[in-house]
């Protein structure tokens, strides 16, 4: 018997749950000016989530998936991307999307059931949120390939959940990206739950990062509640990808503090006490403690920020609510580059019925 291959998976954390540095911080994190925007973005996301859930409860938007407790992941990664990079998000990635320039109004429009919410004014080439689990990893690998083929110094980044690591798409895409040495970053938001299925029933592996070994890709594990660790790992991976070093898989360990979505009631399948305990690890308090410790944050700043976030969210909600609903024609407008002749009759009929019965009469 000969050993023909050896592998290790490393875990990184800079700040512990109390926000104390457990090792020397990476250079970028030494300047609070680099950390405060991350802190701000996390707070904004949390304010947005709270509001979005309230809007769902009052019927103003549809089912919504909050990022509660996992804000550091999206923000740590997106803040390490360049404008010209492309984000290929899943449905729980508005934290990252906001950093990329997607507006909260657009996000509300999407969750409110309107395709216009995915017509981002700013990151024009970012993908819309992917609902079918895992597909986005394939898309991201294809995006990365396009960059490589055209010799553009751009990187594709995508997110998936712990549950999504069970999907074939994830392995196939990782293998393609590895073979292509494509500039791709794949980030697992390991929030410990796939709806009601806990991480340990999803797979028996001690880490999710080790799944990268199947594709010969570098896989690392970070504390996903430590935005410094997430950002640092993402930055390395993105630099590597941009330099031609191929894909990286990052497992960011966090916890889903909320329900799966507003359509879910997590008390059916998990102990609220355990969830309560997990609040001790959440990322915002952690970074605030650190910032306070180094003298870069105080109560006044906190209050000002909270107010700012609330105002921004409120303005986004107002803007969202003011958008007139789409018309029936919208179903046809962007189906093809040009509406095929064969569909003209249907288009007219749809318009006709919309203007006559308003499409409202259903038994």
């Amino acid at each position: 018997m000969t050993t023909v291959a050896r592998f290790e998976v490393e875990f990184t954390r800079f700040l512990n749950a109390e926000g104390e540095a457990t090792q020397e911080l990476p250079p970028f994190a030494l300047d609070p000016a680099n950390l405060i925007p991350l802190y701000r973005a996390m707070q904004l996301t949390r304010a947005f989530d709270t509001k979005a859930i309230a809007l769902q409860r009052t019927g103003k938007i549809g089912t919504f998936a909050s990022a509660l407790g996992q804000e550091a992941i999206g923000i740590g990664v997106a803040s390490a991307m360049r404008k010209e990079d492309v984000l290929v998000p899943s449905y729980r990635d508005h934290a990252a999307q906001f950093v990329r320039g997607v507006t909260m109004t657009e996000s509300l429009l999407y969750w409110g059931g309107d395709e216009r919410g995915s017509n981002f004014a700013v990151p024009r080439e970012d993908f819309p949120s992917c609902v079918p689990i895992g597909n986005q990893v394939c898309h991201a690998a294809g995006v990365a390939y396009a960059f490589k083929l055209r010799k553009e110094a751009r990187v594709a980044a995508c997110f998936l959940g712990d549950g999504a690591t069970s999907k074939g798409d994830f392995y196939e895409a990782l293998n393609f990206a590895a073979v292509w040495r494509a500039p791709l970053l794949v980030v697992i938001n390991n929030n410990q739950w796939a709806i009601s299925v806990p991480r340990e029933h999803q797979t028996i592996t001690p880490t999710l990062a080790q799944k990268a070994i199947a594709a010969g890709v570098e896989g690392v594990q970070v504390d996903g509640n430590d935005v410094i660790a997430v950002h640092d790992a993402a930055r390395r991976a993105i630099d590597k990808a941009r330099a031609g070093g191929g894909p990286t898989l990052i497992e960011a360990i966090s916890y889903r503090l909320g329900d799966h979505t507003t359509a879910d009631d997590a008390t059916r399948y998990r102990d609220p006490d355990v969830v309560q305990q997990q609040w001790a690890n959440e990322p915002i308090r952690r970074l605030r403690n650190h910032l306070a410790r180094i003298g870069a944050w105080d109560q006044e700043k906190e209050e000002r920020l909270q107010k700012e976030c609330a105002d921004q969210v409120a303005a986004a909600v107002d803007a969202y609510l003011a958008i007139p609903p789409p018309t029936a024609a919208a179903m046809f407008d962007h189906l093809y580059a040009e509406l095929p002749t064969a569909m003209k009759e249907q288009f007219d009929a749809a318009q006709w019925f919309a203007s006559h019965d308003g499409g409202s009469s259903h038994g």
Binding site: G112, I133, Q202, P326, M331, D357, S361, H362
Partner: protein, 326 residues
Amino acid sequence: MAELNLVEAINRAQAWEMDHDPSVVVLGEDVGVNGGVFRATVGLQERFGPERVIDTPLAETAIIGTAIGMAAMGLKPVAEIQFSGFIYPAMDHIWNHAGRLRNRTRGRLSCPLVVRSPCGAGIHAPEHHSESPEALFAHLPGVRVVIPSSPSRAYGLLLAAIRNPDPVIFLEPTRLYRLFKQEVADDGEALPLDVCFTLRAGSDVTLVSWGAMLNETQAAAEALAQEGIMAEVIDVATLKPLDMTTILESVTRTGRCVIVHEAMRTGGFGAEIAANLAEHGLYSLLAPVQRVTAWDVVVPLSRLEYQYLPSVERIVAAVMKTLEGA
């Protein structure tokens, strides 16, 4: 007799059959501890244990692929695909294996599998949660495609599907899950597969539909009755194999037919029924066969979904068109 809504009826049928046939197993995402995202499997794991009510990892290909392996070994898996927009990763196993295993082995192995999946729009669900993919399965040899339209039919048809020795794709309209209740005996009595059910007798026009659209179809029939137009309403129930006998018998009497379905028009299953009428019922037809369907567009997000779903008005208008044709 209990008053049950459709999802409760689905639940009872599974419970009954698990109780009476130890080879029945239920598997899928969140079907165990959580009892299914729609609660279709609620209580089953507590009652029959986690080995027979299996919370699988998140992978539709393997859910159906492993269920085929189980079925070939004599289990009767009832696999839930959480929403039919997520059934596509399982198409490979459904198309290449489920409907073929018996044929490929000349009956040596078989595949008594039920694939349950919620379908349809109208509940303001997120993207990809509102699909009506029945036509993709009704083209497939070796399988059955069944869609219930009421709690009692859901109960009886699901029992029949589980007992059927061949694979059944069982699509459950989410819009009906909690829309209304019915007395359901929960006595283990199955309904027959492969036949249509006539829900309302009438002599002027035949309305053919299935699943949630029977809701609008019956409302249209009611509205037409107010005008003195007597519509016969047929619930196809089993799309494949299709009971054209019942439909043809009706259309021979009425001379007019409107087919109503929620899926996109082109290549929808309504075409198959209309095609059969054009072949076997032509001389009885007094007016063009109308199809009232969704437009050939992507199911829109929730704000427009009721512009997508055929409305009562559209059905009534189609009936009026067939009457003009007289």
